[in-house]
């Protein structure tokens, strides 16, 4: 268990820069997620920490020591690959025992440790089987057992849940988090799935095109997106360009088309100053109401429902207010508003964030 530090890391493949200068500190015991769309450099970062790729520039430190010149087999890391990468010619028990053989562990202790790891992933009885005889979810657990049985300093997971089907994925999410809590290992988790990142992480690093867009807790990156990219990547947002007419310690007064004045809490608009600014309005925060409903404390407008995308508990609406289209995701009980209905739409200013224009 160790702190991991990326110090001005750059990775180039030929002339293509996959990772632009990146600084990152992953405190001991943290569950940190690299989140971003496919191709943004998540795996490249993870592989550099693992020692499977050499950084072009910069230094990686694990537990205070530079590991740039430490080969992968001496780094003591546990890696879980997206496709599990279990050894098909070895039994489950031999797979899990693999890493123990290269450590100074008396061979009499190995079966006990293997069993403990299998117990931890709640598959105590599959030791004699071969990976092919296990389901995808089970293989994933064995891959995890194999990675943690060596008591790694850092656990690295590259989209470990993406090959599982939806229900299993949610179960494994909880399971993985439980195991990580239990052993307290510093964990770097790679995913392109924002809900996975929000549900599991202590810290989220949102990446885009080889750059870090924002680092923060799930609550921070969700509620206080540092850029338009983050606002859009973590759930759907309406970004409304307008201007800031004044800012004090409490609020930043934004003025936007359609809705008019919106007093955004100052701490949710840290980089906004007077002049051009953008309002970030999350789709879930924009409520559709019948005309004449009580809208105390809300900023409102009249709107016409254009498209209704019914999803059971929630409905996604596209509405038109003035000359603009907005997206709203509302919980409903009963019937959704029909297309063509004129409604009142509104939101609370404290649910919004501001970005510099």
């Amino acid at each position: 268990m160790s702190t991991v530090i990326l110090d001005k890391i750059v990775k180039r493949f030929g002339t293509f820069t996959a990772v632009h200068p990146t600084n990152l500190e992953i405190p001991e015991g943290t569950f940190l997620t690299l989140l971003g769309p496919s191709g943004c450099g998540k795996t490249t970062n993870l592989r550099m920490i693992a020692g499977l790729l050499d950084p072009t520039e910069g230094e990686i430190r694990i537990g205070g020591k530079s590991v740039n010149n430490v080969p992968i087999h001496k780094r003591n890391l546990g890696i879980v690959f997206q496709n599990y990468a279990l050894f098909p010619h070895k039994s489950v028990a031999d797979n899990v025992a693999f890493g123990l053989k290269y450590r100074n562990i008396p061979s009499s202790e190995i079966p006990g440790r293997v069993q403990k790891a299998l117990d931890l992933v709640q598959l105590p009885d599959v030791g004699d089987r071969y990976p092919k005889a296990l389901s995808g979810g089970q293989q994933q657990r064995i891959a995890l057992a194999r990675a943690i049985v060596i008591e790694p300093d850092v656990l690295l997971l590259d989209e470990p849940l993406s090959a599982l089907d939806a229900n299993l994925r949610e179960d494994m999410r909880v399971e993985l988090k439980r195991i990580q809590d239990q052993i307290g290992v510093t964990t770097v988790f790679v995913t392109h799935d924002q809900s996975e990142a929000l549900a599991m992480s202590d810290q989220i690093v949102v990446m885009s095109a080889g750059r870090v867009e924002q680092v923060g807790t799930p609550e921070e990156v969700y509620n206080r997106p540092a850029s338009e990219f983050v606002a859009n990547f973590l759930g759907a947002s309406n970004i409304i360009e307008g201007k800031c007419t004044g800012k004090d310690a409490e609020t930043a007064a934004l003025d936007v088309p359609v809705f008019g004045k919106v007093p955004v809490p100052a701490d949710k608009a840290p980089h906004v100053s007077e002049g051009a600014a953008k309002l970030v309005l999350r789709a879930e925060k924009l409520l559709l109401m019948p005309q004449g409903a009580d809208t105390t404390g809300m900023v409102t407008s009249e709107a016409v429902v254009e498209t209704v995308d019914y999803q059971g508990q929630t409905v996604r609406y596209f509405i038109r207010a003035g000359d603009r289209q907005f997206q709203a995701i509302n919980m409903i009980d009963g019937h959704p508003f029909a297309e063509g209905t004129t409604v009142t739409v509104g939101f609370r200013p404290i649910d919004c964030a501001g970005l510099p224009g």
């Binding site: 546990g78 890696i79 690959f81 050894f87 890493g99 053989k101 092919k132 005889a133 060596i150």
Partner: protein, 288 residues
């Protein structure tokens, strides 16, 4: 006709051309050979139809045939081992190279565009008394007189390796190419060095390809007659040369048939052993 009945018939319709070709071109001639091997060649040169065991007795008891059979198997075995040792690293290199695999494989196949006989004869121009190597060595002054390098067992093996190496490389390549590179990375991350990961993971997973390549090299090597004819001396005849000699030179079809069946049985037994071994490997599930 019901859907099931149609589906049940379909594989047979699709297989029919192949089955008739195999029957006509392989099975029927084989039956002829079996029948021939019990005929008898008389002093007049005519074949006497009947059921005589004379050819089989001669083929099985004459030391001459047995010695050549053993030396044929030995040469095939050495060739196979050399092909494996040379071919495995080459296949590994191709399988692990990025992007240009197709070109490398094409280069590997390139020699097949030239006739096997010409490829074999090319060694005469390289190793012959007035060949490239002797000329070079003499012009550099390392030797004064040309050395006789041709027409011995070593040149036969050289020719066989030249002929069979691509088969080994291809077979090993196919099985290495199918191995997920994450497996080696995973082994590395768990503490195994590159070499240990190779021994523990990649090598065992590539054994089916190595075995297939080995079998192919061995069977093709043991059945060859052109290479010893072109590159071997009078004492380097291999078993297929005896068959050739009996049938083409002496026109003794019955004896030639018995001899060729002998080789067929020996090599067939080898294929069975291979099958049996792979059958056992199947127990180690996942190699599939």
């Amino acid at each position: 006709m019901s859907v099931e009945a149609r589906e049940a018939r379909q594989p047979w319709i699709l297989l029919a051309p192949a089955i008739s070709a195999v029957t006509l071109l392989l099975l029927v001639p084989l039956i002829f050979i079996v029948v021939y091997s019990f005929w008898l060649r008389t002093a007049t040169g005519a074949d006497q139809v009947g059921f005589y065991l004379d050819n089989w007795q001669e083929a099985l008891t004459d030391r001459f045939y047995r010695d050549i059979l053993f030396s044929t198997l030995r040469i095939a075995a050495i060739t196979t081992v050399v092909c494996a040792l040379m071919g495995y690293p080459a296949a590994y290199f191709i399988a692990r190279s990025r992007g240009n695999k197709v070109i490398l494989l094409l280069l590997l196949m390139l020699p097949f565009w030239i006739s096997y006989i010409i490829r074999t004869m090319s060694w005469i121009n390289i190793l012959g008394v007035s060949g490239a190597l002797n000329t070079l060595l003499m012009s550099v002054g390392i030797i004064g007189e040309p050395i006789n390098m041709l027409y011995n067992e070593t040149t036969v093996i050289l020719g066989l390796v030249h002929f069979l190496l691509p088969f080994m490389v291809l077979n090993v390549f196919v099985s290495l190419d199918g191995i997920d590179t994450n497996l080696e990375d995973a082994a590395n991350s768990l503490g195994a060095t590159k070499w240990q990961s190779f021994i523990q993971v990649t090598l065992p997973l590539s054994l089916p390809g190595l075995a297939a390549g080995g079998l192919l090299c061995f069977v093709l090597g043991a059945g060859t007659y052109i290479t010893p004819l072109v590159l071997g001396g009078p004492r380097d005849a291999m078993f297929a040369n005896l068959v050739f000699e009996a049938i083409i030179t002496q026109l003794n079809w019955p004896l030639g048939s018995a001899l060729s069946l002998m080789l067929l049985v020996v090599l067939g037994a080898l294929v069975m052993i291979y099958n049996r071994y792979l059958g056992m490997a199947q127990l180690m599930k996942g190699l599939g």
